[in-house]
């Protein structure tokens, strides 16, 4: 039996090297778009609409009832928006039944760069196991796509990709050095249970820690707190039906 292929793309600037046609692409933006989307949907958001710009976010917010506009620039809620990009801002008591319109720098951009995939889903530590189960059953080639930081390789997205490779390696054909490196990196560091300690020496952690977001980041790397798989359908991220049934 021919296994489907699993590859890892370390930066949006390398996306053109990968064949995404008919593949399932996993968008990974651990700090923090992926994590916020996963948490909001698990906490009952109707859907999350990812948009590229603050302007678009404001416009869309006016036209959708019961919606929240959210997004940050330089660690602060962007001017004209209502909320930020922290998963902790969206508990059930606040977000249930609402539409979250979210603009982020890296994750959203990558999501719209992928043109011909069979499906786009969101991966984060918060949904690690259910995302892996979803991929194991999907029957498609898989590309784990790291949003990185302005096209620069980053550790937290790569470590998550490594965690997925580690869990799925028997089920896929893996001949991709990025996937191998991500897995070894995860096994050598985060795999030993000190993920957040390890990430304290990373560019993005240091950047966000300056805004006092240490607690946020610790939350974002906690596995399986929000076991839902966000799937892109008609430009909206919704909970996958399967994960709904499991819940």
């Amino acid at each position: 039996m021919i296994k489907p292929r699993l590859e890892v793309c370390l930066s949006p600037a390398l996306l053109y090297l990968y064949d995404t046609k008919d593949a399932v692409v996993v968008i990974i933006d651990i700090f923090r778009a992926s994590s916020t989307i996963t948490a909001a949907l698990d906490n009952g958001a109707e859907c999350v609409i990812p948009v590229a710009s603050v302007g678009e976010c404001i416009e869309l917010g006016k036209s959708i009832k019961n919606s929240i506009t959210a997004g940050e620039r330089d660690g602060k809620v962007a001017e004209g928006l209502q909320h930020g990009n922290s998963p902790l801002e969206y508990p059930k008591s606040f977000i249930e039944g609402k539409t979250l319109i979210l603009t982020t720098t890296n994750g959203t951009r990558l999501l719209y760069m992928v043109k011909d995939a069979a499906e786009i889903i969101i991966g984060s530590f918060l949904n690690l196991d259910v995302a892996c189960e979803y991929l194991a059953k999907c029957g498609h080639n898989v590309l784990l796509a790291c949003a990185s930081w302005k096209d620069r390789f980053n550790l937290e997205d790569t470590l998550f990709a490594g965690a997925v490779v580690h869990k799925l390696e028997g089920k896929f054909d893996i001949n991709c050095d990025s996937a191998r490196a991500a897995k070894h990196l995860f096994m050598a560091t985060a795999g030993k249970g000190h993920l957040i300690e390890f990430l304290k020496d990373s560019s993005h952690y240091k950047r966000l820690a300056k805004f006092g977001l240490e607690h946020d980041m610790e939350y974002c790397v906690t596995p399986n707190l929000h076991p839902v798989v966000p799937v892109l359908k008609d430009k909206k991220l919704v909970k996958d039906g399967l994960s709904d049934q499991k819940a």
Copy 2:
């Protein structure tokens, strides 16, 4: 005292993210351009001229006395050239006093992409320690630039970058996740002394092993066999004067 900056670029497609102005850029193409250039110069080649195409290689070969044209495409000596891209083809008895005109797919291309550096040198396991000494003393920012494989991240170039980061980290300011990842990867795997075993599960090793080049690759990852630093001067790679004195 402000330390100079050390960064790692994992693919030529990411080079635009880095400021190479007035930096020393280390071109890394372990399998095998970097290794062959280092070996040939240590074995007495007058210089190595890296060129982009087979045609250019042939033309230049006609105009330079006592020169050798070399390059491979798909694991074989390219049509019209005399020799291949193996460090083992260039022992002292053969290459001493000659000019090696070399065309390679990935390393040469990257070398010509770097436009404004203070200096370009060649790094390989074969010259690991002297290259690190050179960088420690250079007083410039340093970019370790992996040639990769057709822009795809590869393990062997990254592991070498990791070895350099590991050796130099106290001497440079390092705030670059690629550098951190490369170092951790090196420490976790190759750092434990089984570099070639580790690389047997890598894309490039598998590709070259199909051409029977296992022995070549083992040679290429042996540290410090050829303690010279190739430096680009007027489009020619020559031995650094310092490494000459040391020899």
